[in-house]
């Protein structure tokens, strides 16, 4: 059954079907992948673009991919501009960090043009973190790479499939250059399965409702996205807003690096200008322009509360400016392995500039860093090598009428799960000494910053190595409206002989022997408002719960409590009656 004149509800149903296709493609990838980083950490994204590369729908497991798919497709169109350059059955592979939606080499993108009756009507695309793309270190991303050539295989936007026929030599090259070819090739096929699902479902929609109805629905989807964003734009404060901050260092002791933003909000535009930020640096914390756009988009979506509908219509008012060759828009051959340590700052600067003005959507700063930990060694039980690669939870900032979240993954993550203690100890040669909130009194305020956590691993065999990448160590999660700053991300090593070393923040391959404990401490988020205005009953509850100490209650919050029953003994003059 085909109808040419599209009923408005038919358009809605097709639109909903498009969103469901995005969702199905996303799940297909998780379902068919063989790598924990994909099906457990959901470190990938997939989506459908229109024939001009506009994002129609995107499935996300983490927030940090939201600017990349459409850039990838746009670059594909740029590279294959001729009418016959792209054909049904083609699949393009790309992971170049500096163009086309690049982040770091580990994130490998695939793009498939979708044809109906010989006409290009859409693209399906995805990008997934491969466990291995070769390079100098196992797992490929490295916190002491100095140029991109150390970070793995590069795919410069080339055809992996030509009219449905796979490029065998390319496949051979991949197998020969990565450490775990089964996983990488397995993920490649999972990505292809997801692309094909998208292709099939889009074609089914054309069959059922006609091509013209589908195209109208796509247009409607984008237009509605723009309407939503513009409606929300009306509510935003207008003018110019600025923020600056410093990235601690690049892992080689260079730094700090100044980064800054100037935001201009008009009725029509939302412009984030990062010019004046530090040039790209020797260590691998540089981020690409796409990564920067992604980080800004996350905050933009949060401000416009448009999280339900994520497409390029929403982003039409948004403009991101950065100088080429800056740490926030790096160029070849700058290393980008741990790019999230700088792109996170891009989003955080926008957040920081606007938080005082949009308190209903934005609170104080959070621990920001992915806080990644890579621990390897030999499992003493099985005598087999093990490898832990995990991000860490930390403290989020307080907001108006809301204390900060305690122990939650950072903004760039999302539907990310910590590894249970019982799973970690069963699989790896470690023992977890504690996994607890770190209530250190930082982030004081009328609403308090959320606590970070302490997670301690005791090595159970000799010759283990831990690589830690904790940013936001010197420049702290910021408080607002009188709220205090949070605390640093840092780690210590407690040697079996009783000595303690640290604190450290970024460290490559720290050696551990049996009995040594690496104690990972993530930061507390910033506070919101004057601590002297915090509700007294709430302070009593906080002290009873151990979130605030008796000492801090008196010295910072101005309330002296009884040590046994937490009744109010006295209120300091600063707090007043």
């Amino acid at each position: 059954m085909k109808k040419e004149s599209a009923n408005i509800f038919t358009l809605e149903i097709v639109k909903d079907s498009l969103l469901a296709i995005g969702d199905e493609m996303f799940q297909t990838l998780a379902r068919t992948s063989m790598s924990p980083i994909i099906y457990e950490v959901l470190d990938y994204a997939s989506g459908v673009m229109d024939k001009n590369g506009n994002l129609l729908t995107q499935g996300n497991g983490v927030a940090g991919f939201i600017g990349m798919l459409s850039h990838m497709v746009a670059y594909t169109i740029e590279k294959f501009p001729g009418k016959d350059d792209l054909k049904p059955g083609d699949v393009i592979i790309i992971n170049n960090p500096y163009v086309g939606g690049g982040s770091h080499l580990s994130d490998v993108g695939l793009v498939m043009p979708i044809f109906y009756e010989g006409e290009l009507i859409a693209f399906s695309a995805n990008k997934a973190h491969w466990t291995e793309v070769g390079g100098k270190d196992p797992g490929s991303f490295s916190n002491d790479a100095t140029e991109v050539y150390q970070e793995g295989l590069q795919f410069p936007c080339v055809k992996l499939f030509d009219q449905g026929r796979i490029n065998e030599p390319l496949l051979e090259m991949i197998k020969a250059n990565v450490r775990m070819p089964d996983l990488s090739i397995g993920d490649l096929w999972a990505q292809i399965a997801a692309l094909r699902t998208g292709n099939k479902r889009i074609n089914e929609l054309c069959e059922k409702y006609s091509k013209s109805v589908l195209l109208q629905s796509m247009e409607r989807l984008l237009d509605q996205g723009e309407i939503l964003a513009r409606e929300e734009m009306k509510k935003l404060p207008k003018g110019t807003f600025t923020a600056m901050d410093y990235i601690d260092d690049d892992g080689f002791g260079n730094g700090p690096f100044k980064v800054q933003v100037k935001i201009t909000i008009t009725d029509e535009k939302f412009i984030c200008d990062f010019r004046g930020s530090h040039p790209q640096v020797p260590g691998p914390i540089n981020c690409s322009y796409s990564a920067l756009v992604t980080a800004v988009r996350v905050v933009f979506l949060s401000i416009t509360n448009a999280g339900d509908v994520v497409n390029d219509g929403i982003f039409r008012p948004l403009e991101v400016i950065a100088e080429k060759g800056s740490v926030l828009s790096a160029e070849r051959p700058a290393p980008t392995s741990i790019y999230w340590e700088s792109d996170g700052f891009g989003g955080d600067l926008v957040w920081k500039a606007l938080a005082p003005h949009i308190s209903e959507r934005l609170g104080a700063g959070h621990f920001l860093s992915v806080c990644s930990v890579t621990l390897s060694g030999i499992n003493p039980e099985t005598k087999e090598p093990f490898l832990i690669v995990e991000p860490s939870v930390g403290g989020w900032g307080a907001a108006d009428e809301q204390d900060g979240a305690r122990g939650q993954f950072c903004i760039g993550d999302g539907e990310t799960y910590n590894v249970p203690v019982e799973v970690a100890e069963t699989r790896y040669g470690v023992m977890v000494e504690e996994y607890a909130l770190c209530n250190n009194g930082a982030g004081a305020g009328k609403y308090i910053g959320g606590s970070g956590v302490v997670r301690s691993y005791r090595a159970l065999s000799n010759n283990q190595q831990v690589s830690v990448t904790f940013g936001r160590n010197k420049f702290l999660p910021w408080g607002i409206n009188g709220g205090k700053d949070g605390s640093p991300n840092e780690f210590f090593v407690k040697k079996a002989d009783g000595a303690t070393e640290g604190p450290f923040s970024i460290y490559a391959r720290y050696p551990l022997n049996a009995g040594d404990v690496v104690q990972l401490v993530t930061g507390t988020g910033g506070g919101y408002g004057d601590p002297l205005e915090r509700d007294i009953q709430q302070i009593q509850a906080d002290v009873k719960n151990g979130y605030i100490s008796l000492k801090d209650a008196k010295e910072i919050y101005g309330v002296e409590l009884d040590a046994d029953d937490f009744s109010v003994r006295d209120v300091t003059p600063e707090r007043g009656a």
Binding site: F9, R361, G407, T416, V421, L437
Partner: protein, 683 residues
């Protein structure tokens, strides 16, 4: 005689089968918070003599209500030293990716009531640090001072070796005799400390509430002289005794919806259908579940308060896998900021309810759209609302925006509602590797019959069944249950390295626990049926597949059979298999049924003489494809067995109505079910 009573949000239902095999039903209002009153009301209303009732099966919302309303007990938690914050850190995930003010689920136990004890096992269950009993005494004193009403105990690795939890529970019970105590290994023996701790906490939290309720109900039933066997419906699709339900009430969290799915499986067995999609549309939500070859999917991946924006709270007890979406008869039609028509998830509920109820509802709902399009009739409602009022609501709230008539808008509401439900049905079928064309749709609840024929057409399903007791279908399902207990034990082992003695002993132990539990419940060994499953995975992976475990002791054939079944099931679920990769056991899962004699359902015959005037009226009905069409409206109660009619048509009953499309044929089967065949099932 055996009866089932099911407490729902609005009504308390009763179903029984008389000695002649006829179905008896009853409906009374639910009487929150004194739910037991509604139960007595519905028994009285049914006219059944309480003394003739030898088996009483009960489903209620008491546990889920205590959780969602946060009306449970003041609960304390005891954990291994260093891990009391696990309950609060949870898994750290933030499903609402673009919300920078996301709120994590608040733990059910405040931090000051989460206490730590020096003790530690390693991952093999060996004691590394002995239990500090003095600390437990101090904690008990502290809990007493804080007037704690329930205590949960959750130590690391108690799923392998529960001795420290057992000892702690014993001490707490002695020290605090009036407090309800739950040790985590009693409710789940699976690994992952956050999930197990939370499950223990929620069980402790609802235990006093459940106990009070069941005690009161038991005494009230005794008072009216109902002294037969009493069972409670659980979320795993089977029942348990009152004492067991009082001990682990968390097992009954989802009893009502599960009973409906079970009912669909039993009905399928009765009429020879093995592949079924059970589909229930109520006032607020639609629920669906897939039954594959007669088997319900039971797993421990249940959450409360979880959706795509909220992490929710995990409950690791066996629950039938059901997908629920916010789309029911009362779902409100509204226009979003971008100008799109949406239906649900907000519902007008039962009060004020849809405009058609005449109780002050002003927001148009799916029910109102069904009324305006002639699919329901005003006589379905116990109200004096005029059709014009309904029409006006739809015109003003929806149609005006799109510059169209109220009729067109009403059809739009139905189409959007169907589109939402279609996605849910695809989620349990196509997305899980099942072809819906291999399934029969059994639709029940007030709205099931209204929407199922259209949805079946979309999915290419060839057959839809509207059961005889569709209005009280959950209670009907309960009536047909056996006692059931699931024993799940984490057992991480590579398949190639499993020691035959160890595995056989593990199963023996699980079977012995089941036999013992059934003995306590008065079920003798010859009535106990076991099925074994293993949650398996490829080594190095996380996700598991539930594989049936062959009978008999462990040998090479066992291994081969398991391997073959696992590869096949893995491929079905995940699209690939890795035949050269080592396989691993994660959990052993023993399902134990205590079979009890069930009522015989008679074939149902309507006297031909009674079946006069089966056509109630002719009515104009608005269809998607053919527009307004005059159709026959049939009186369901007057359709004789074997009666066949062709669409377009409506078959009406007091609380619902079945809408037949032009290419559909309906026949009344021997049990009074309506069997709809869809001729031109689309590919």
């Amino acid at each position: 005689m055996r009866i089932a009573t099911d407490i729902g949000g609005t009504f308390t239902d009763l179903v029984s089968i008389s000695d002649e095999g006829n179905i008896i039903t009853g409906k009374a209002h639910t009487t929150a918070p004194n739910y037991e009153k509604g139960v007595l009301d519905v028994i009285q209303q049914s006219g059944l003599g309480p003394e003739t009732i030898d088996t009483f099966i009960h489903g209620s919302t008491v546990v889920i209500n205590a959780l969602t309303e946060r009306s449970g007990a003041k609960t304390g938690l005891i954990t291994t030293k260093g891990f009391r914050d696990v309950l609060e850190i949870a898994r750290g995930n933030r499903p609402d990716l673009f919300n920078l003010r996301y709120k994590k689920p608040t733990p059910f136990v405040d931090r000051y009531l989460r206490q730590e004890v020096q003790e530690r096992l390693n991952f093999k269950g060996e004691v590394i640090t002995p239990l500090d009993k003095d600390a437990i005494r101090q904690i008990a004193a502290y809990f007493k001072k804080e007037k704690v009403e329930a205590v949960a105990i959750a130590y690391l690795y108690s799923y392998i070796n529960p001795e420290h939890e057992v000892e702690t529970k014993k001490m707490i019970k002695e020290l605090l005799p009036d407090v309800a105590v739950t040790a985590s290994h009693e409710v789940t023996k699976e690994w992952r400390e956050y999930e197990r701790t939370n499950t223990a906490v929620l069980n402790a939290y609802v235990k006093p509430t459940a106990s009070t309720y069941l005690t009161k109900l038991k005494s009230d039933l005794h008072h009216i002289n109902l002294n037969g066997y009493k069972y409670v419906m659980q979320s795993n699709g089977g029942t348990t005794t009152f004492p067991h339900a009082e001990e682990t009430p968390i097992n009954v969290v989802e009893s009502g919806p599960v009973a409906g799915v079970y009912g669909a499986a039993v009905l399928g067995e009765l009429i020879g259908e093995k592949n079924i999609i059970a589909f229930d549309i109520g006032g607020t939500t639609a629920k669906c579940s897939l039954i594959d070859n007669g088997e319900m999917k039971v797993d421990t991946n249940y959450f409360i308060e979880k959706d795509d924006k909220h992490a929710g709270y995990p409950i690791k007890v066996p629950v039938v896998d059901i997908i629920e979406i916010g789309n029911g008869g009362g779902s409100i039609a509204w226009i979003d900021k971008a100008g799109s028509l949406k239906v649900g998830p907000k519902s007008a509920g039962s009060s004020p309810g849809p405009v058609a109820y005449g109780k002050g509802g002003e927001q148009p709902t799916t029910t109102d759209a069904n009324l305006l399009t002639g699919r329901l009739s005003l006589s379905n409602f116990d109200s004096n609302v005029e059709m014009d009022t309904v029409k006006q609501a739809i015109q003003e709230k929806v149609a005006n925006t799109f510059e169209m008539t109220a009729d067109e808008a009403a059809l739009g509401i139905i189409r959007i509602a169907n589109s939402n439900m279609l996605q849910a049905l695809k989620m349990i079928s196509v997305r899980k590797g099942y072809d819906p064309r291999d399934f029969t749709l059994i639709a029940y609840g007030g709205g099931g019959a209204l929407h199922a024929p259209a949805l079946a057409k979309e999915l290419g399903i060839g057959k839809v069944i509207i059961p005889n007791a569709s209005a009280v279908f959950s209670a009907w399902g309960m009536l047909m249950t056996d006692l059931r207990h699931d024993y799940i034990q984490t057992f991480i082992n590579e398949m190639g390295q499993i020691d035959p003695n160890t595995i056989d002993r593990k199963w023996d132990k699980l079977e012995a626990s089941a036999t013992e539990q059934f003995a306590e419940e008065g079920i003798t060994e010859e009535h106990v049926l076991f099925s074994k499953f293993v949650d398996m995975r490829y080594k190095g992976q996380e996700h598991t597949v539930k594989v049936p475990y062959p009978d008999g002791t462990w040998n090479d054939t066992t291994k081969q059979q398991l391997a073959r079944a696992f590869h096949e099931l893995h491929e079905k679920k995940y699209t690939y298999k890795l035949e050269n990769t080592e396989m691993e056991f994660v959990n052993l899962h023993l399902t134990a049924l205590g079979t009890i004699e069930k009522p015989k359902v008679n074939k149902f015959t309507v006297d031909e003489a009674f079946a006069k005037n089966e056509i109630k009226e002719k009515r104009q009905v608005l269809y998607e494809e053919i527009g307004w069409t005059e159709v026959n409206v049939y009186h369901r109660g007057k359709l004789p067995t074997g009666y066949t009619l062709n669409g377009p048509a409506i078959v009406e009953e007091p609380t619902s109505s079945t809408i037949l499309y032009p290419d559909q044929q309906l026949q009344v089967d021997d049990y009074g079910n309506l069997i709809i065949r869809i001729k031109e099932a689309e590919a």
